[in-house]
């Protein structure tokens, strides 16, 4: 049952050949961190040899380790280092080094770079969104050479609509998949925690607007060790 339901998100996001950019946007009422956990779980599944380069600003690594232990049966060890504060250039250097090392190893594997979350990175960069955009741009350049994927989390509601900062728009322009976590329009419900809207730009380019819809909306309910995804009205 669990796998069948988890597929709703997987289905909407689709399968891609190369690396791609996934932007997760959430708000105060509805946290989108579980989407990040979903990707983390998928990449670090015991059967896959994929590598995740995780840049954590929001929580210590032990937090993610605890979550992973809950979600995945076998225990996974994350080798992480505390992010140092000697600039985004050094951080980028670390990432590129890791990517270079892992891609030179034998066997084909996808390297996913995850950032949790971009707004806190902006805080670390003393509020300069331009710096963060430079950093993200450099991260994206790794896609061309190594075929890396990106999953970033950002909070939409801290950028007010009147003074829409380019940070969130720019990342939307560059994204292949945009996942938005929002509360229900009708307010809170006990059995639904919110709704996800998945915009898949890639499928429209590939399929030329065929029958497969690329904008999907469904509800979710976060449970102890997994997340239920269902279309509105299908939950009994």
């Amino acid at each position: 049952m669990e796998t069948a339901r988890a597929n709703l998100l997987e289905e909407a996001v689709g399968v891609s050949k190369g690396g791609r950019v996934v932007v997760v946007e959430d708000c105060v009422e509805t946290s989108g961190a579980f989407v990040l956990h979903h990707y983390l779980k998928r990449s670090l599944h015991p059967d896959s040899s994929d590598v995740v380069v995780f840049i954590a600003f929001a929580h210590p690594f032990s937090h993610y380790e605890r979550i992973l232990r809950k979600m995945v049966s076998s225990r996974l060890v994350i080798n992480g280092r505390e992010a140092r504060e000697d600039g985004l250039l050094a951080l980028y250097g670390e990432i590129e080094k890791a990517v270079e090392i892992y891609s030179s190893l034998e066997g084909s594997r996808t390297i996913t770079i995850m950032i949790d979350d971009v707004s806190l990175m902006e805080v670390a960069a003393n509020g300069s969104s331009n710096h963060v955009l430079d950093f993200l741009h450099y991260c994206y350049t790794l896609r061309a050479k190594y075929g890396c994927s990106f999953v970033t989390l950002n909070h939409e509601d801290i950028y007010s609509s009147a003074n829409m900062l380019p940070l969130i728009l720019q990342s939307e322009y560059l994204a292949d998949v945009i996942i938005k976590a929002e509360p229900l329009a009708t307010g809170l419900a006990s059995d639904v925690h919110g709704q996800l809207t998945v915009l898949n730009k890639e499928s429209v380019c590939d399929l030329g607007g065929g029958s497969i819809s690329k904008v999907r909306n469904f509800h979710f309910r976060v449970k102890e060790s997994y997340v239920d995804y269902f279309y509105p009205g299908t939950q009994t």
Partner: protein, 362 residues
């Protein structure tokens, strides 16, 4: 529209005029600007290869996509990428715009950060120095044309990206430099309008001879960015957009333009559902309707038109008093009468709910 643009870019600069420049503008609601850019680039490329255009080649300034992306675009359109060096040069401002990779390579953190280029590429390692960028564009252009007289086209895939690193005046200076350069045949560039202030779009429009706007077919009424409420519309916006008098559809990896006849356009704009009877007026009908003189309107007396609705207007009575003080005797006033009516208190209210005949004994 798309064809006109491509023709104008193909024909290039006229004698004694600056080179034609095109700004493609889009917003996040219909982010199809880069597809339009690729379309115009490939159209220009096929014109160059056919020898129809004034430009002998293109200098592509890649800022938002890697050169390998453009190699893929050209390959999909059936161009021979290996022989493209005869007419195409790429100034790669994507891979290392701030020189970070270079620094990391020098410090030994990474070994070879650069991608192997398929197209003939030259790397720009400092986007902040726009003068150097300008001179490399001109140099690359001269490499293609190889002679003094030939001209080349310049394509900039995102002005927004340049504006992130430099000020608007310096970007404007570079663009007008390029436009007035003897060997530039045409320029086209892409701008994401909503990333900048309004003045940026205006400045670029002054600097260009054409601007192409990609807009949603149905403009969004609310400025809210909530997408969950109008999913079909969001989906439509990703598949098709309005391109002045044309519509563009995403088709496969490229796009297609379809001319919209004006009649369809009006209906699409007014959002009227298709019904059997006619809700719209034709131009002639509209004019005829405007000519009809309604019976209660005063015409041609020079006075403001007043419509009698049974009550006396407050303003009017005041102005009348004023007039009577100023000019006690006017011919107009002499014929005026007034009905004075005091309602009898015993009279029934005109709208009484009571049945007036309920006291009848039949």
């Amino acid at each position: 529209m798309a064809e006109t643009i491509c023709r104008a870019l193909r024909d290039g600069a006229f004698e004694g005029e600056h080179a034609p420049a095109l700004t493609i503008k889009d917003t996040i609601d219909t982010p199809l600007g880069s597809l339009v850019f690729n379309y115009i680039l490939t159209q220009l490329a096929s014109n160059i290869l056919a020898g129809k255009s004034q430009a002998r080649g293109v200098v592509l300034v890649a800022l938002s996509r890697p050169p390998s992306f453009y190699a893929e675009v050209l390959k999909n359109k059936g161009f021979d990428v290996t022989s493209s060096s005869k007419w195409l040069r790429v100034l790669d401002c994507y891979s290392d715009p701030l020189g970070w990779k270079n620094k990391l390579m020098e410090s030994g953190t990474v070994r070879n950060p650069y991608e192997e280029a398929v197209l003939k590429t030259s790397l720009c390692k400092n986007l902040k120095e726009l003068d150097k960028v300008l001179s490399s564009i001109v140099e690359l252009g001269k490499e293609i044309v190889e002679e003094e007289k030939g001209r080349f086209a310049v394509a900039i895939d995102s002005v927004s990206e340049v504006l992130r690193h430099s000020s608007l005046p310096s970007v404007a200076r570079i663009l007008s430099h390029l436009r007035s350069h003897d060997q530039v045949s045409c320029i086209f560039c892409l701008l994401h309008v909503d990333l900048h202030e309004v003045k940026v779009a205006a400045t670029l429009e002054y600097l260009s001879t054409m601007h192409a706007d990609v807009e949603p077919i149905i403009p969004r009424t609310n400025k809210q960015r909530s997408t969950s409420e109008d999913l079909p519309m969001v989906e439509q916006c990703f598949k098709r957009g309005k391109f002045h008098r044309e519509e563009l559809y995403v088709e496969g990896p490229g796009i297609k333009f379809v001319e919209v006849s004006s009649e369809d356009g009006i209906i699409a704009q007014s959002l009227v559902p298709k019904v059997q009877f006619n809700l719209e007026l034709s131009e002639k009908e509209r004019l005829d309707r405007a000519k009809v003189v309604l019976p209660f309107e005063h015409q041609g007396t020079g006075k403001p038109i007043q419509i009698y609705d049974g009550r006396k207007c407050l303003n009017e009575s005041e102005t009348e008093k004023q007039a009577s003080v100023d000019k006690p005797q006017t011919t107009e006033d002499s014929g005026r009468g007034e009905i004075i009516y005091f309602r009898d208190s015993d009279d029934e209210m005109p709208d009484s709910d009571e049945d007036p005949d309920d006291d009848l004994d039949i």
